[in-house]
Structure formats: C-alpha cells, structure tokens
C-alpha cells in the first residue's frame, strides 16, 4: 500500500471518529429532543460517511478494484439517516414532547392548529 493513501485513510478515519465523539457529546449534553436529534442525524451521518470513505480507499488500494458494497453502504446511509431523523423528530412533535423552555421559535405551532381546523371542517362538510 502506498504511503500517501495510508495518510489519507488515517485522516478520514480520524475525522470520522472525532465526529462520532462530537455526536455522543451532543446527545448527552443538549437540552431537549429536537436539539439532540439535530446532533445525532447530522453529526453521525457525516462521521460514518468519513469512516466509510476511509474504508473504501483502504480496500481500493488493497484489492485493486472498487468495492461496490461499501459504495452502496455510503449512498444508503447518506440517504436514509436524515430521513430517519426527520421522522422521529416529527413523531416526537406530534406526541407532544415539550420544547426546551428557552427555545424562542416554534414555527409549527400555528400551522398545526390551522391544519387541524381545516381537517375538522372538511370532515364536517363530508358528513
């Protein structure tokens, strides 16, 4: 294995591990569900993608051909992890988990009320 690729693999893997630790710190220290979800979905996606790109370079140099499974894993995690974060955050909002008491903006509050009224009205007209 050439030395320069080793250096790049080391940099990628180190950055990824650092981002994983930042994610864990955010999940422990941040005050409510939404901020924790922000830390988890963004930070851990980027960290895992760095580590997987490092592994991809490692196996590309070691075996001499592209490893399609790692590429699929990178693309799949890049697509699905933010979607999962969005879904669980929406579920948390709809089940009524309170925001942090120092949060200044809840843009979804008026909209939720409006949508519920609209839904009720359409149901009443249907009957």
């Amino acid at each position: 294995m050439t030395e320069i690729i080793k250096v790049f693999v080391g940099i990628f893997v180190g950055l990824g591990a650092f981002l994983c630790m930042v994610t864990a710190l955010g999940i422990i220290r941040l005050p409510d569900v939404y901020t924790r979800n922000h830390a988890a979905s963004k930070g851990s996606t980027l960290g895992i993608m760095f580590i997987l790109i490092g592994a991809f370079l490692f196996f590309y140099v070691k075996e001499g051909h592209y490893n399609s499974r790692l590429l699929l894993g990178i693309v799949f995690i890049f697509i699905t992890s933010p979607v999962a974060g969005h879904l669980i955050s929406r579920a948390a909002y709809h089940t009524g988990v309170p925001l942090w008491k120092k949060s200044v903006l809840d843009e979804l509050k008026d909209k939720e009320k409006h949508e519920k009224h609209g839904l009720d009205r359409s149901n009443g007209e249907g009957k």
Binding site: G16, C20, M21, L25, V33, G54, A55, G73, A91
Partner: protein, 94 residues
Amino acid sequence: MLDLVLKISLIAVTLSMLALLYRVIKGPSTPDRVIALDAIGINLVAVIALISMILKTSAFLEVILLVGILAFIGTVAFAKFLEKGEIIERDRNH
C-alpha cells in the same frame, strides 16, 4: 502507524456508543431513546468498517449494508408506532 490510528478510532467510536447507551437508559422521553438507538445502530456500522480494516479482510462488508437497513427500518417503525399507535395499518381508508 495506520494500525494505531485505526485502533484509537475504534476505541473512540466504542466510547461514544457507551455514551449513547447512557441516553438510552436515562432519556426522559421515548423519542430520546429511539434517537439514541438509531445513533447506536449507525455507530455499529463504523465499528464494523474499522474492524474489517484492522483485520484486513473484506468479509464483513455485507454486514454494513444489513445493519444500515435494519437501523433505518427500526427507526421508521418506532416513529410510526409513536405517532399512530400501530405499525401496519389494515384499514387504509381511515
């Protein structure tokens, strides 16, 4: 040198998984626990990639896809269960 970096990274990722386990146990609400479980599943992918690099074998790389898909499906099922109370709806018109 690369081996040392890989091992230190493996230790860091494992410690962050332990820290996430604290949130799974203590988390005040259920979505907290689900978020931490999702992050543990994604960190597991990193652990598998690092172990397969340390052992210099590409035999474990299918496991990355499998664990990624299972973590995503589990999180989606949990989100749907929390929101609607059921996962597979039989009555489509409701």
